[in-house]
């Protein structure tokens, strides 16, 4: 790789294959290399320009022998929203029964993404 065009090196995290990508800005777009499938281009573009993440945590559940119910987001949010969303989730105290996939917060912080339960608690 030449020194003249510094590349952002990253590992595609869309699947466990983990392709090593090299991303260079070229004109108005991005030049991506190292991807083994088309998803790699979209990944690199998003990762450089507007990274997104899912997140998982767990919250106390009431009225069950099970102490916690685990939760995640229905889709990824901009990475900078991780901690604001976690603070919203920390306020949750759902009551049993909770169904897997049940929406516990709809459209959290206006992201268009829901907080959902990832397990069933009787």
């Amino acid at each position: 790789m030449s020194d003249a065009s510094p590349a952002d090196r990253m590992t595609c995290i869309l699947c466990p294959v983990g392709c090593e990508l090299e991303v260079r800005r070229s004109g108005r777009g991005l030049d991506v290399q190292g991807h083994q499938c088309e998803k790699g281009i979209g990944f690199a573009t998003e990762e450089v320009l507007y990274p997104k993440r899912n997140l998982a945590t767990s919250v106390p559940v009431q009225g069950s022998e099970t102490r916690l119910v685990s939760v995640r987001l229905s889709d990824r949010v901009p990475r900078e929203m991780i901690f604001p969303v976690l603070r919203e989730i920390a306020r949750l105290r759902p009551a049993a029964p909770v169904r897997r996939g049940q929406v516990l917060i709809a459209d959290v912080l206006g992201t268009g993404v829901d907080v959902i339960a990832t397990r069933t608690v009787e």
Binding site: T11, P16, N54, T57, S58, L68, S70, R100
Partner: protein, 414 residues
């Protein structure tokens, strides 16, 4: 008939491999399948793995461990598989007689076939011999994961993580979410042991330092951990004198490797591999004891649950065939690891097997390399493939298309 219970297929363990094995056996025509799970809840270690990234291969989407476990368990319930939770297999004899302590009491089960799917354990501080005091605050990464994700316990306030295995990386992010400062991840090897995607989204995202070729050489603190001393290591993994540095923390997490849990396999006389810690198997995943099969992390350590399940489906299907006497005894040709290969699995094939799927891991990161499978007597090349990059942390799968009727060696040349 006397009172002894008989079963076509008994699966020991209800995690991603065991649930899949039970399903695989049922779908391959076994009528009478029994799965035995020690815990109250099916799913095994998936239940505490609340992060996403599971199911990409099995379900074609990224879901969390508990979701993956529930889905797989629901499939098993739908297909009428009998599953006993809160039941523990105390002993397994070579003739496949099981001694089981279940909720209903102690009983014997005579199985036509057994599928081992007991998973693995974590290596502990004692196994890596870190000097220093013996204070509270030292956890394996998985036990910390259980405490935080299932039991609502705060494990500490400032943590150091030794080892860059996937659970350690996942826990670095998890502790950060819980407001616990992670001071660093220290890895004795010059490369990371976890998947690259976990390095990026668990460490880099949160600015958590990863120091390679570095290890913990001392633990300090009387009642609770007060600090650890870390040091750089040389090419022989020995600490470099003068490089020591003290890192304040009250918690030390160990993510230093997993060991297949083969106590029962040993009782049954199953021959184990020194390279994998699991059973030696042929391409049907049958061990050295006829009628006993092995899959998932008890066989060898997998990177992702989906692959453990894949192996489970296969082992279950072959077990069903053995139970129907459709898998006659056969000789074997050996599959051995050559240069740069840490292990390959299965370790043997039935002579004449075509299309065999082989798993292997490399010993160190390799770039621009070529993997070959070569006949040891004829020199014939049965398989050849180029790779841009291979990492020890990534289990690889290849398929040997031609029929193999001699010992073969799998090697990787740069």
């Amino acid at each position: 008939m006397d009172g002894i219970e008989t079963r076509d297929v008994v699966v020991i363990g209800g995690g991603p491999a065991g649930l899949a094995a039970a399903l695989g056996a049922k779908r391959a025509g076994a009528e009478d399948v029994l799965l035995i799970e020690r815990e109250k809840r099916l799913g095994g270690i998936l239940n505490q793995c609340i992060h996403d990234g599971f199911g990409l291969f099995l379900y074609g989407e990224s879901i969390t461990g508990p979701e993956y476990a529930e889905r797989l368990a629901e499939e098993a319930v739908r297909e009428g598989i009998r599953m006993e939770t809160g039941a523990m297999v105390l002993d397994l004899a070579p003739d496949r007689l099981l001694r089981v302590n279940a909720r209903s009491g102690y009983r014997l089960i005579q199985a036509s076939t057994v599928v081992l799917a007991m998973g693995c354990r974590e290596r502990t501080r004692e196994m890596i011999e870190i000097p220093g005091t013996r204070p509270a605050g030292i956890f394996t990464a998985g036990s910390a994961q259980n405490l935080v994700n299932l039991q609502n316990v705060r494990v500490g306030n400032e943590a150091v993580i030794l080892g860059s295995g996937d659970i350690g990386l996942i826990m670095a992010r998890r502790l950060t979410f819980e407001g616990i400062a992670v001071k660093g991840v220290f890895e004795i090897m010059p490369w990371t042991n976890g998947l690259e995607r976990n390095v990026r989204q668990c460490l880099i995202d949160f600015g958590i330092p990863l120091e390679l070729s570095t290890t913990v050489v001392e633990v300090k603190g009387r009642d609770r951990v007060e600090s650890v001393v870390v040091a750089a290591v040389d090419g022989d993994l020995k600490p470099v004198r003068g490089s020591e540095r003290e890192v304040r923390c009250d918690t030390l997490l160990l993510s230093v490797g997993l060991i297949p849990e083969n106590e029962l396999s040993k009782r049954a006389g199953v021959e184990l591999s020194a390279l994998t810690g699991g059973a030696l198997v042929d391409e049907t995943l049958m061990t050295s004891v006829p009628g006993i099969f092995s899959c998932g992390n008890v066989l060898h350590i997998h990177d992702v649950a989906d692959f453990a399940s894949h192996e489970g489906f296969e082992a279950g299907a072959f077990a069903a065939r053995f139970a129907r006497d459709e898998l006659p005894a056969a000789g074997k040709v050996r599959v051995t690891p050559g240069v740069n290969i840490r292990y390959c699995l299965p370790q043997s094939l039935r002579p004449g097997t075509a299309g065999a799927e082989l798993n292997f891991r490399v010993t160190r990161p390799l770039r621009g390399c070529r993997v070959t499978a070569t006949g040891r007597s004829s020199g014939k090349v049965y398989f050849r493939k180029k790779y841009g990059r291979l990492l020890p942390s990534e289990l690889q799968k290849i398929r040997i298309r031609p029929a193999v009727d001699e010992d073969i060696e799998v090697a990787c040349h740069e």
